[in-house]
Amino acid sequence: MATRSSVLIQTLSLVALLALWQLAAMLADSRVLPPPLAVLEVLIAGFEDGEVPYHIGITLARVAASFVLAMAIGVAVGIVMGRSKGVDRFFDGWLVLFLNVPALVTIILCYVWFGLVEAAAIAAVAINKIPNVIVTVREGARSLNPDYQEMAQSFQLGRAKTLRHVVLPQLFPFIAAAARSGLALIWKIVLVVELLGRSNGVGFQLYTFFQLFDVTSIFAYTLAFVAVVQMIELAVLQPLEAKANRWRR
């Protein structure tokens, strides 16, 4: 729980950052380093004409789609590789390869092969993320407690019940870790995908402002974006995790 002094410190730290920004902007006195108030004005205007919510909404939808896709495939493959030594040995080389392919390469190839379409954009992001999910979940699947497995088997729980109530709860910390690092990565890759091949979304907007040298708008979108990401973290991820961990002492 946040105590009153820690809230105070956090507020002070935020104010200090703003002050530093203001000071730098005043010293630079340049179009490419706007002061906080100018950014705020652009941000408010962007919300009023609906531009900012529209593009952030589009980006969020892409993040959600590729996140769900990457987690579903990554968790399934991770469990299989963690449980079967043969499968693990066979696909380990592929995994190492995909882990090390630069995100940009995947994106370019997806656009070249499938065209500049929505599916290619989402697939490119998911493909970038899947190997990380597999590696994390595989670690969890390797460390499943055999005691629980034997319990499930001797009481004849069956596959579905064992997976849902015995295996997945043990994997939960690993899946949560993959989800968190996954979101952090996906946010960033989605912007690149939008910049390279979509005509809407935050990434597309940033690219447009870059061409116009409109740093004020870039700052405005960045702040809005960071705020939305934080809100999802606080309002969705943390409560979910707290609920799943309520049995821990």
Binding site: D147, Q153, F155, H165, R249
Partner: protein, 252 residues
């Protein structure tokens, strides 16, 4: 009622292969025993003689042995329902007491009220919604007992279920086990290395040798269970057994 043979065990050999630096290990050899319906058998043997391995083979957790195990046919289907109480309680820490028990039940059993009865009989009602992490080892073991009885097993396997408890707690749980078993008779294999415990509980004691485990002797315990509460009765029987079976003294 004629005693019907319920469980037939014939293990010619159970061997663990060499793994890395651990050498191959012959755990069981020429182990034969059979149980009648609703018989309470204690398998007694020194540590490391293959008692847990035997239970794993019976429960189908380990199928890589040579030999044959004929299980009783189940009341509810072709496969018998097995209740297993492991050496450690093995409750899922993310499920409450009652959720742990209900997980292993069939839908009909969940509604039957049996769980409530068993929780009441074991004094666990106050802990129904507690997570296992908050329970003492003695309480966790009670939950494990309830879980094994709640499936209405055709065969109940218990693997030293009361070790590392203080003696009064262990004693209370033994009496509790006998009481639940009396009310819901089923075939029981109870593994232990404690002769006094075996005398207190069993219809018959099956004595195993050190590894590779084989049956050295089968000793009926022909004393009414009500009399076995007397320490002197148990001690007297124990001394007599040790005189008659020097192997018991050597190995336990």
């Amino acid at each position: 009622m004629a005693p019907v043979t319920q469980l037939e065990i014939e293990i010619r050999e159970k061997r663990y292969p060499q793994v890395g630096l651990a050498p191959a290990h012959l755990a069981l050899r020429e182990l034969r025993m059979s149980l009648r319906g609703s018989e309470f058998a204690c398998v007694l043997g020194p540590s490391g003689c293959g008692k847990t391995t035997l239970l794993h083979c019976i429960a189908g957790l380990d199928e890589s042995f040579q030999g044959r195990i004929t299980l009783p046919s189940g009341r509810a289907g072709p496969r018998p329902v097995i209740g297993y109480v492991f050496q450690n309680p093995r409750l899922l820490p993310w499920r409450t007491v009652v959720e742990n028990i209900e997980l292993v039940l069939s839908p009909g059993q969940t509604r039957s009220g049996l769980v409530d009865e068993l929780l009441a009989a074991t004094g666990l009602e106050a802990f129904r919604h507690a997570y296992p992490g908050r329970l003492s080892l003695g309480l966790e073991r009670r939950v494990a007992l309830v879980r094994a009885f709640a499936v209405q097993p055709d065969l109940l396997l218990l693997d030293e279920p009361f070790v590392s408890l203080d003696e009064p707690t262990a004693q209370r749980l033994r009496l509790l086990l006998l009481q639940i078993w009396r009310d819901r008779p089923t075939t029981v294999i109870f593994v232990t290395h404690d002769l006094r415990e075996a005398i207190q509980l069993a219809d018959r004691i099956v004595l195993l040798s050190p590894a590779p485990g084989t049956v050295l002797a089968e000793i009926p315990v022909a004393i009414a269970r009500s009399e076995r509460r007397e320490v002197a009765v148990v001690e007297g029987f124990r001394n007599k057994l040790i005189r008659e079976n020097p192997a018991l003294y050597r190995e336990l």
